[in-house]
């Protein structure tokens, strides 16, 4: 019995056919349609009562089904809300869907089950206009409060040219100005307590400590944080909406810019989903090249985090050393891909070109050079007693809290859970590599730093193995969906030539279905959930990014610390604004 069948039996026995219907998907994640009225009991059962529970709410999003040709077929729906849960015991995802009917439907909130559902539900409301009954603070989250319409609905224009010229009427100026006025009550904050008047401090949207356009409203008693409210969305570019109008191939560069420090790592997450949909099995050489590039970007991203973290705590020099090293990585990336931060280099079914001559020499040089530097940084930053005083015991969360709030990646491993998607659910051939999963026990800022620092050493190990065991073979799959197909065959037979022509001019047509990828990205788990209705562009592209839930947790973990500690917490969280807002 496969895990999916086992899970299906367990649920059917508990709830019965009338509640659950199983659906087959391209990614083999157990998928069930749940009757709208029964979603809460099912979720509660999965989280609490099931012998092998699903404690992590991995993702929550919606689809506008109204333009799909099959949206009247079972179950008949106008909108779908999708829940992704993860079980650590089973090492398995489960996908639950509820069908909603009507123009502006509503569903029940699950904020009382998972606190982390709050932002996800707000996002669904913001993007689709679906209301969640019982949500404590259902307000727009990514779009401005004054925005008209809900962007991810199919009737909402995707391009500015579809919207008519922008006019700033006086009334509009007034409403926008009004919306800028800060009213603490609107954010659920009180002005006074019994014995203190609180001070409200706006950190951001422009602030050197936020690493981007992020606004955090702090409610302070002296310098103690009573409450913090992150205000996100300043970096929202509608990457998910763009997916619906780009071809499967031309969407790749947009993914580069989600976690803009992760470079091709984003490509990988997207392409794994697409390749699952298209049924492409990539050659071994592609897998190893991809792994190597991803690990390079993991080191590059961690270096940026390392340097800026130290800088946030007032240490000015490390960031310069680390950016110099990052430059060395970019030299290699540039030699291989031609690009630097956003190489846009992976392709459906492969990579853009083969590795250039002499790549191995550059990589070998870096492998010989880098460990010494890491040791130096360890002495400079991690062993510094002021650094320790600023990070040890700050921003603590326990493993249970981490799971409850949807923390993934290094933040989760810093709480002592040895869980790395590269090991647990290997993709792109990670099962063939030898590396350890660094963990730490306390879940404070220092431990998160320790985990990331160790990860760089492990990444280097993986790169070394890539260098030693780079397989020979093609750099692209010969599957007809691979885009663009290998050129050499196009001159040989008409089939590939036509494919090449179509894939380049229209873009590939990906078969109907839906699939999700999940990779261990630089900042946590990154997923692309792609829905195809058999067209040249995705019907819906959902990007699950790790920084989103991490930022949502900020108020919870920063209460009771001081303003200076907030900077430690933000620094140790390692978020990227584009990764939060997409």
């Amino acid at each position: 019995m496969t895990p999916t069948e086992k899970l299906a039996t367990e649920l059917m026995l508990k709830f019965g056919d009338s509640v659950l219907t199983q659906q087959q998907t391209a990614d083999e994640v157990a998928t069930f349609w749940v009757a709208k009225t029964h979603i809460l009991p099912v979720l509660a059962y999965l989280k609490k009562e099931s012998p092998e529970p699903f404690p992590l709410l991995y993702d929550l999003f919606a689809l506008d089904e109204r333009s799909r040709s099959d949206h009247k077929t079972y179950p008949s729906k106008d909108f779908t809300v999708v829940y992704h849960l993860l079980s650590f015991k089973r090492n398995q995802f489960i996908r639950l869907k509820i069908a909603l009917k009507g123009e502006y439907p509503s569903a029940q909130t699950l904020t009382h089950l998972w606190p982390s559902a709050s932002w996800y539900e707000r996002e669904v409301y913001d993007m689709f206009g679906i209301r969640f009954e019982g949500h404590p603070h259902l307000q727009r989250i990514l779009m401005p409060l004054t925005w008209q319409g809900h962007p991810l609905r199919k009737e909402h224009p995707a391009r500015a040219t579809e919207m008519g010229p922008f006019k700033l009427w006086d009334e509009k100026v007034d409403t926008e100005q009004d919306a800028l006025q800060f009213k603490p009550e609107q954010w659920g904050l009180q002005r006074h307590s019994d014995d203190a008047d609180f001070m409200f401090l706006n950190i951001g949207p422009q602030h050197p400590g936020t690493h981007g356009v992020l606004r955090i409203i702090l409610q302070l008693d002296g310098e103690d944080i009573i409450d913090a409210v992150p205000d996100i969305g300043f970096h929202h570019r509608g990457a998910e909406k763009m997916g619906e109008r780009q071809s499967w191939h031309t969407y790749i560069p947009y993914t580069d810019r989600i976690d803009y420090l992760g470079g091709v790592m984003n490509n990988l997450a997207y392409l794994l989903a697409v390749e699952k949909l298209a049924g492409i099995e990539v050659p071994d050489r592609v897998k190893v090249i991809r792994v190597m590039m991803c690990e390079f970007f993991r080191i590059a991203s961690h270096l940026v985090w390392y340097g800026t973290f130290a800088q946030d705590l007032g240490q000015l020099s490390p960031v310069f050393y680390m950016f110099t090293d990052r430059e060395k990585i970019f030299d290699i990336v540039e030699a291989i891909t031609g690009g630097r931060m956003h190489p846009n280099w992976f392709r459906i079914g492969g990579v853009a070109q083969d590795l250039p001559n002499g790549w191995d020499k550059m990589v070998a040089e870096f492998i010989a050079y880098f460990p010494k530097r890491l040791k130096e940084y360890h002495n400079m930053v991690m062993r510094n007693s002021i650094f320790k005083a600023r990070t040890v015991g700050i921003g603590i969360y326990t493993l249970e809290e981490a799971i409850e709030w949807g923390v993934t990646g290094p933040g989760l491993r810093a709480c002592g859970l040895e869980w790395d998607m590269r090991k647990k659910q290997p993709y792109s051939g990670y099962e063939n590599f030898e590396f350890d999963i660094p963990i730490a026990q306390n879940g404070d800022c220092y431990d998160r730093a320790v985990v990331r620092e160790q990860e760089m050493i492990q990444s280097l190990r993986i790169i070394e193995q890539c260098l030693k065991h780079m397989p020979e073979g093609p750099y692209k799959s010969d599957n007809s969906h691979a885009t663009p197909p290998l050129k050499k065959n196009t001159m040989q037979d008409i089939e590939t030539l036509i494919n090449h022509f179509l894939n380049v001019s229209w873009g590939p047509v990906i078969p109907k279905g839906e699939a999700m990828s999940c990779i261990e990205a630089t900042k946590g788990w990154n997923s692309y959930y792609m829905v195809s209705d058999g067209n040249t562009s995705p019907y819906r592209s959902r990007i699950r990014t790790p920084s989103f839930p991490h930022m949502q947790m900020l108020p919870y973990i920063s209460k009771g610390y001081t303003v200076a500690d907030l900077l430690s917490i933000l620094g140790s969280m390692d978020y990227v604004l584009a990764d939060i807002d997409r």
């Binding site: 944080i225 603590i396 209460k559 009771g560």
Partner: protein, 175 residues
């Protein structure tokens, strides 16, 4: 020498007047600092450089900073200005003003009846101050030290309040 004395004295008197009449507490305190500095200069001219230095280090440099600190913390702004304005009413300052004037007249009379001697200025070195403090006046020093100690303890006791913990771990403990 005398000219400098009169200048410093005039500055001291004018700035003290300004202290009383400024409505904004911070501005008043700034004039108070000027007044202290003027007094320090007078001390210096009278041959007491040690006292002059202490006047600046302690009064201007520490105590008034604390005053300003408090004013900043309490964020006293327009409201206090209005409140201060009401204190400048004739009715409010008439009686204290009259009483003060009586004292002033007395003082002037006493000074004017004194035989007109020129003050001989002998500079007193810090060392001399120290020797007299720890010599004949050692009991005074000890007593004031004890008094200050009591003051410190008293202040620490009054200033102690139950610290409110906002961190979730600490809250569970106190429950």
């Amino acid at each position: 020498m005398n000219v400098f004395f009169y200048i410093a004295a005039a500055v001291a008197i004018i700035s003290t007047l300004m202290v009383i009449t400024r409505k904004h507490p911070v501005h008043a305190l700034l004039y108070l600092i000027v007044s202290f500095m003027a007094v320090a200069i007078i001390f210096f001219q009278l041959g007491a450089p040690f006292v002059a230095a202490l006047e600046i280090v302690l009064y201007a440099g520490a105590i008034v900073v604390l005053f300003i600190f408090v004013v900043m913390m309490l964020n006293l702004g327009r409201e206090t200005s209005l409140q201060e304005k009401t204190w400048l009413n004739l009715a409010t300052w008439l009686l204290p003003g009259v009483l003060g004037a009586i004292l002033l007249i007395e003082l002037i009379y006493l000074i004017s009846t004194q035989p007109n001697e020129t003050l001989t200025i002998a500079e007193i070195e810090p060392k001399a101050v120290a020797l007299s403090l720890f010599g004949p006046y050692v009991i005074g020093v000890e007593l004031s030290a004890m008094l200050l100690m009591a003051g410190v303890i008293g202040a620490a006791h009054i200033g102690r309040r139950t610290i409110k913990h906002y961190h979730r771990f600490l809250q569970e403990e106190t429950k």
